[in-house]
Amino acid sequence: MDKEIQSLVCQWDQSSFLFFSDNIWGDFIYYSHLLPSISALIVSIFIFIHTPNNKSSQALLFTGISFTIWSFMDLFLWASESMDLIMFVWSSMIYFEMFVYLGSLYFIYAYINNRFPDFIQNSIIFVLFIPLFLFGHTSLNLTGFDLTNCWREAIEGPLWQNYIYYLEIGIAAWIFFYAGRQYLRVKESKRRREILTVTLGIILFLFSFSIGNIVGSVETDWEIGQIGLFGMPIFLIFIGYAIVRFESFKLKVLAAEALFTASFILLFSLLFIRTIENARVIIIGTLVLFTILGFLLVRNIKREMKQKEEIERLAVKLEEANIRLRQVDKLKSEFVSIASHQLRSPITAISGYASLIREGSYGEVTAKLKVPIERIEQSARMMAESIEDYLNVSRIESGYMKYNKSDFNLTEQAEHICDDLRSEALKRGLILLFKKKIESQGIVNADLGKVQQIIHNLINNSIKYTPKGTITVYVYDNKKNKKIFIDIMDTGIGMNKETLQSIFQKFERGDKANTVNVKGTGLGLYVALKMAEAMGGNITAQSEGEGLGSRFTVELPLAM
C-alpha cells in the first residue's frame, strides 16, 4: 500500500505551520515544549549578549539553541502527518540530542576553568560520533515506521535504543567526575558553592532529559517523556541563582529582574495549556516557584537595603573626613608658604652680607676667615634653593603657580644653559656635550623662566650624580607629532627599577644619592614634572640600572 494512502486511511490531521494540528492529543505538549525551549533561548541569548567573549556563555548558547531545536523537532513529530518527514526529523534528532549533552560538557569545562576540552578530548568525542555518521541514515537508527493501529511512530533501532542512551549516560558521568574533581581542588568556599550550584543544575537537567527520553522510548509513551523537558527550567533556575548570588558570568542581575523574567515566561506559557483542568496543576507548580523566588527576592532586597544604609553612613563619614582633610591641606600649604616667605628674607640677608664681607666691603678679610665665610654663603644659597622648592610645591598644590607663556627657541635656550654649566662640569672633571637634530624651527610656547629652570635643574642633577664621564644634552623634534624633546644623558650612578618608579614623587631621591655626597630636598624632579605637565609637556626617566647612567627626557609641544 502506498504511504499516502495509508496516511489517508488513518485519517491523520494535516499540520499547519509545521507545529499545529489535531494530531497532538496530549494536554501538556505545547506547554512542556515551549516553556523550557523559549526560556532556554531567552536566558542563553541574554547571557551571551552581555558576555560574548566568555567561553561558558558561548557553550550555554550552543546548549540552549540545540535544546530549542530538539524541542521544536519533537513538537513537529507530534503535529506532522507525513511519514517521510517524521522519519527524517526523528533520525536527525539524534544529533541535536547529543549536542545538548556536548554543549553541557563544554559548558561545565568553560564555567569551571574558562577553557574548552583539549584536542585529545575533542578527538574522543569525534570518535564517539563516528557510528552516528556511518549509520544515521540506516535502519540501525530507525528500524521503520510503525503503522500498527495507525500509530504515527518510528521504531527506534539499536543506535537510538542502545548506543545513544549509553553515550548520554557516559557524558553525564564525565561531567559529574570532572566537576567533582575540580570542586575538591578549589579551596575558596564561595567558589565551591558556585561550582556545586551549577553542576547540580546541569546534572539534574541531563538526568531528567535522559530519563524522559529513555522512559518514553521504553514505554513508547511519549507523553510521560515530556516531563523530562522540565529539567531545563530547573537548570535555568540554578543558573539564575548563581548569577544573582555569585555574579556568575560577571553579570550583575538583581533578584527582582530574575523574578520578573521568570514570572513573564511562566505566565506567557500558561497560554499554551489546552484545557482549564490542567491549568490547576501548572498553577500549583508556578506558585511553588513563585514562593521560592519571592522568598529569595525579599531576602535579597533586605540585604541590599542594609548595604545601602551602610554605604550612606560611610559616605557621610567620608565626606566629613574629606572636608577635614581639605582644611588640613590648606593649612599646610599656607603654613609652608608663610614659613618659606619668613625664612627667605633673613637668608637673603645672610647671603648678601656674607658676600659683602668676603669681597672686603667691611675691611680686609684674612685668609683664615675666608673659608668659614664661603661656607656661610654656600649654606645660605642651598637653604634659599630648598626654600624655593618648598614654595614651588606649595604654589603647585594650591594652584597658584603662574605661567607666563611666550614663544621662544628651545634649542637656543638649551644650548645657552649648557654653555653656562660647562665650567661647573669641567670643575668636576666631566665633559658636557650639546647636540641637536631639528627639522622644525624649534619654537615652543611656554614659560621661559620655568623651562630654563627645568633644563638647568636636570643638567645640574646629572652633574651632581655623575662622578666621572660625560653628560650629553641632545635636542631633537618630531614634526609629525609636533613635539620637541631634550635628552639629558649621563654616565652617572644610574637607578634601579624601584627608584625609577618613584623618582618623580615628592621627597624622593635616588638610592645611591648619598654615596656621591649630594644634598637635596627631593623636590626638584617633582616640581620640574609638574611644571612641564602644566605647559602641556612631560618628563620621563630611563636607566639601564645602577652604575649604568641615566637619561631624562623633557617633552614639550612645538608651536612652529
Binding site: 533520525s91 575533542n122 569525534f126 560520533f129 541514515h137 521503520g144 503503522l147 500498527t148 535504543q161
Partner: protein
C-alpha cells in the same frame, strides 16, 4: 613575534580543523538522512497487528 605566532597556530588549528570536519560530517549525515527518508523513502512500514519483532533490543520488553 612572528616566530611565536607560528608556534601557537598549529595547536589552535588542530582543534579548529577537527570542529570543521565534525560539523561538515554532521551536515553531510543529515543530508544523507534526508535523501534516504524523504527522497528515496527508504524505510519499512510495519503493519503487523502484533507489532514488529524488536526483542533484539534489550530495552524493549519482549511479549
Amino acid at each position: 613575534m612572528i616566530y611565536n605566532v607560528r608556534i601557537a597556530l598549529p595547536n589552535m588549528n588542530k582543534v579548529f580543523a577537527l570542529r570543521i570536519l565534525f560539523f561538515t560530517l554532521v551536515v553531510f549525515s543529515i543530508f544523507t538522512i534526508y535523501h534516504s527518508k524523504v527522497v528515496q523513502r527508504d524505510y519499512e512500514v510495519f503493519m503487523n497487528p502484533e507489532g514488529p519483532d524488536t526483542s533484539d533490543y534489550f530495552l524493549i520488553e519482549s511479549e
